[in-house]
């Protein structure tokens, strides 16, 4: 064979290849303008959450603070989203509420995805054995209750604070990943390349983590991106009924529920936090779609 080109593998080539790969991924991601919008929204939210004390006009309003002279003021140039009945700037409180929301999403996903993944892999690998049955039945049990109800139930028997609401949501979140991964793992498990690896004596650890897992990751990442929005939503639902962050720390759902009492007169107390929730979820949904486009090849 004459015409073989032997490709060099030095650092220059490797960095070029990395840039190429990133370029390819970015191309696939950015084809849909909405995904880019989602990315922008998400980055903006994260930025504002991290730099909240510097980005907001009244950072002290996110703590114990009252100013009855300015209570219940509609949106103005001084208070862009208006103030609540304690005189606190709604805009600043919303931005600080982003913190709790994002922290919750990150923690919940970090805590629930690895176990969920692991259980799904195991159940898929040991398909049709007792391991599979036990894991999947337990998963079924957790999934048999409407998600919000389970979260509420768990959160309500614990003391209401951010930590406990995170625990509650984590406990009901992992089964979704188990089920997702189980489906993929159990079909990949019977693919030829896995059987080949087994025949050549690869350890089970190797097969599960180096053969099966990498092929399951794309939908998992997509789901994680989409899930941030959903966790924030459940968090907002919990704080709506008073579970989760306790006052005076602001939480989006809590602000919506506080404001609901004063509708329609002080409508800004409810509408802006509600819009904030919608925008965050929208952002992560769009981002998640873009990640799916980037990672998964779709037919036509």
């Amino acid at each position: 064979m004459e015409n073989q080109v032997i490709a060099p593998n030095n650092a220059f080539v490797r960095s070029h290849r990395l840039r190429e790969t990133i370029g390819k991924y970015w191309y696939k991601f950015s084809r849909n303008k909405l995904s880019v919008l989602g990315l922008v929204i998400v980055l903006l939210v994260i930025f504002m959450a991290i730099f909240a004390p510097w980005v907001t006009p009244y950072p002290q309003h996110a703590g114990p603070f009252v100013d009855y002279d300015n209570a219940g003021k509609p949106p103005s140039s001084k208070y862009i989203f208006g103030t609540d009945i304690f005189g606190r700037d709604i805009f600043s409180r919303i931005v600080f509420a982003f913190r709790g929301a994002l922290v919750m999403a990150i923690v919940v996903l970090l805590l629930s995805v690895p176990p969920g993944l692991l259980l799904g892999l195991l159940a898929g690998f040991y398909r049709d054995t007792w391991i599979d049955t036990v894991i999947m039945r337990i998963t079924d049990i957790f999934l048999s209750v409407p998600p919000l109800i389970l979260a509420l139930a768990i959160a309500s028997v614990l003391k209401p604070n951010l930590m406990n609401s995170m625990i509650a949501v984590t406990l009901m979140w992992w089964p979704w990943y188990t089920r997702l991964v189980y489906g993929m793992a159990s079909s990949i498990r019977n693919e030829y390349f896995v059987i080949a690896a087994e025949l050549t004596g690869a350890s089970r650890f190797h097969i599960i983590f180096r053969e099966i897992l990498p092929n399951c990751l794309s939908p998992v990442f997509t789901k994680m991106a989409l899930d941030v929005g959903w966790v924030i939503l459940i968090g907002a639902s919990l704080s709506f009924v008073g579970l989760g962050e306790q006052p005076p720390t602001p939480a989006l759902g809590q602000m919506v529920s506080d404001g609901a009492r004063y509708m329609p007169d002080l409508w800004w107390m409810t509408v802006f936090p509600a819009l904030a929730i919608v925008v965050i979820i929208l952002g992560f949904n769009l981002l998640g779609d873009g990640i799916r486009d980037m990672l998964e090849t779709r037919t036509g």
């Binding site: 039945r137 919000l148 509420l152 028997v157 639902s237 609901a260 409810t270 919608v278 949904n285």
Partner: protein, 342 residues
């Protein structure tokens, strides 16, 4: 049609799941830091009274035995007494469950009708303004939580444009029908009371739509993408090639295989509807089981909490079985398996 053994298997599995659920519920209820008897009677009750209640609640016996006791009573419909309403939880459930079910059913109907319509339209006119509009609206629809929609509805219809009622199930001036199923609309129709039917129906519209919106758009998108994927499959082309009219192809030969994945999602969405009903019921002051559930949860009313979760678990399991049966009926590949080697 090997439907029989399939259904049996699902039912057995579900019973197992329910048992497991009951254990989980039981454990949750007992994990409460604190003494359930003391909590039931309050901090000022004298110790002997609390002790007596403890014995009654079997709190001094080992955990597994407590579970068996609890399970035995639960199976006979006795969930204990509610701290909040001071009545048997079973009575509370009987009173409030139909309200939530009615809401969920109407939300479900809305979801099915509109998801299929929107999805089919988007697929048929894909890449035109119709499709793009539906897609844009879907992004928003999926992102707006049910309780936000509910609040917006409150604002809109409660104050600015009062064409639809926003509180409760039936207007104060209208006589409700006698309780047959507990579903106001159904009961009114059965007893021929059309004023009550219309009134109850109007009350259902806003909360049901608020609940259904998110799921509707999600299912519409799934339907669309399934239809688009199936549109260029060989069997579709073959059917067209035989001269089968386009309309029949769209509504029969394309729709059925495309709907099958959607149906499973619809089942899941129905159960999320039950969950989201919590907040919507609060906002619309709907006397349903979910609102009761929240109230009792906030008061740590363990008996009620357990009862509510168990009932919802049961409903969910039943809905799942029904959905699985429907899917198996629609998709022969599931119930028949394949010939070896193909």
């Amino acid at each position: 049609m090997k439907l029989g053994p399939f259904v049996l298997k699902r039912i057995l599995l579900s019973i197992f799941v329910l048992f497991g659920l009951s254990i989980v519920i039981f454990l949750i209820a007992r994990v409460v830091p604190g003494d359930p008897a003391r909590m039931a009677l309050g901090p000022r009750a004298p110790e002997e009274v609390v002790e007596r209640l403890r014995k009654e609640m079997y709190l001094d016996k080992p955990l597994p035995e407590q579970y068996i006791q609890w399970l035995k009573s639960a199976l006979t419909g006795d969930f204990g007494t509610s701290l909040t309403t001071k009545r048997p939880v079973a009575d509370d459930i009987k009173e409030y469950l139909p309200a939530t079910m009615e809401l969920a059913i109407y939300a479900g109907i809305f979801m099915v009708i509109f998801a299929i319509t929107l999805g089919t339209l988007a697929a048929r006119y894909r890449d035109t303004w119709v499709d793009n509009l539906i897609r844009l609206v879907s992004y928003f629809g999926v992102s707006i939580p049910a309780f936000v929609v509910a609040i917006l509805f409150m604002l809109l219809f409660g104050y600015f444009w009062p064409v639809l009622p926003v509180i409760g199930r039936i207007s104060p001036g209208v006589t409700p029908p006698p309780t047959i199923t507990g579903l106001l609309t159904l009961d009114s129709l059965i007893t021929g009371n059309f004023t009550a039917f219309w009134d109850a129906f109007k009350h259902l519209i806003l909360p049901a739509v608020a609940l259904a919106l998110g799921g509707t758009f999600q299912e519409a998108r799934i339907t669309r993408s399934n239809m688009v994927e199936n549109m260029n499959k060989d069997f579709l082309l073959a059917e067209r090639g035989y001269g089968i009219p386009e309309r029949k192809i769209m509504f029969k030969y394309l729709l059925k295989p495309s709907l099958i994945p959607t149906v499973s999602v619809m089942g899941l969405d129905f159960s999320s509807t039950l969950g989201n009903a919590f907040l919507v019921e609060l906002i619309f002051n709907w006397p349903g089981l979910s609102r009761y559930g929240i109230m009792t949860m906030l008061r740590k009313d363990l008996n009620s909490i357990s009862g509510v979760i168990l009932i919802y678990g049961l409903v969910f399991v039943v809905v799942n079985i029904i959905v699985d049966i429907i899917v198996a009926y629609l998709d022969p590949r599931i119930r028949l398996g394949g010939v070896k080697g193909t």
